[in-house]
């Protein structure tokens, strides 16, 4: 696990929004033939509780968050032939339809970019220390973790 990452990797935890076309442009500067971007968005509706969401606030564990994402990216670099990775995760207060997370992966060929992006997102959801609290009519509620997120990581076990 001590092997160094040799491709360009950008990991950012930030309050401000991100620009997908700017991030794609950065990934395009690598020796690449394919880019897969994932963008997570705040849903204005809580499907599990059948209620509307007015806003959502994300907190994280500074220091550990970056380390965990780095580990996931490193693992991804070892499993797939990819040429660049960008992970941006927002924290603070967000509103429905706001962008929360960006995972962009470039590769020479598309399948590596698809699989690596999927892998990073699945593990980020179960390992990176972020927590969401939803607001509905001024009531705050910490979001419960989703067992299906754990299930999603099982497909990557070799």
């Amino acid at each position: 696990m001590d092997r160094k990452i040799t491709i360009p990797v950008k990991i950012k935890i930030q309050n401000k929004d991100f620009d997908v076309s700017e991030e794609t442009k950065i990934l395009r500067e690598n020796q690449t033939g394919a880019i897969v971007n994932f963008v997570g968005v705040v849903r204005g509706f809580d499907e599990r509780n059948n209620s509307l969401i007015d806003a959502m606030t994300l907190e994280h564990y500074p220091g550990m968050t970056e380390l965990e994402i780095e580990k996931i990216v490193k693992e991804s670099c070892e499993r797939w032939n990819i040429t660049g990775v960008t992970v941006i995760h927002r924290v603070g207060k967000l509103l429905p339809s706001d962008q929360i997370v960006f995972v962009g992966v470039s590769a020479k060929h598309r399948q590596n970019a698809f699989d690596s992006c999927n892998f990073i997102m699945d593990w980020l959801k179960t390992k990176a220390p972020f927590w969401k609290v939803e607001e509905d009519n001024n009531q705050k509620k910490w979001v419960n973790y989703n067992l299906s997120d754990d299930e999603a990581t099982k497909k990557w076990v070799v």
Binding site: Y61, A128, F130, W142
Partner: protein, 83 residues
């Protein structure tokens, strides 16, 4: 040692972090939890939900058996919900 709390655990305990001098008989996370539980009921109410608590030592996931020392940064938090 510094102990950090996040999400609803932070709210139940009433602080986001605290500094404690580790007693000599506390050698691992399990013993630390016992020690905290004896401080007041807020800790008990949190740590009784042990299946919902993740632990990190020096920013790395670990278990209740993990050995600890006074220089460590410990964190207790619920399963993560980012992305």
């Amino acid at each position: 040692m510094v102990i950090k709390y996040f999400s609803w655990i932070k709210e139940h305990i009433g602080k986001s972090e605290e500094f404690i001098e580790l007693p000599d008989n506390v050698k691992n996370i399990s013993e630390l939890i016992n020690y905290l539980n004896n401080l007041n009921d807020n800790y008990k109410k949190v740590f009784i939900k042990k299946d919902l608590i993740k632990i990190a030592v020096n920013r790395t996931y670990c278990s209740v058996e993990t050995k600890i020392s006074n220089n460590d940064e410990i964190a207790f938090f619920p399963p993560v919900t980012g992305g």
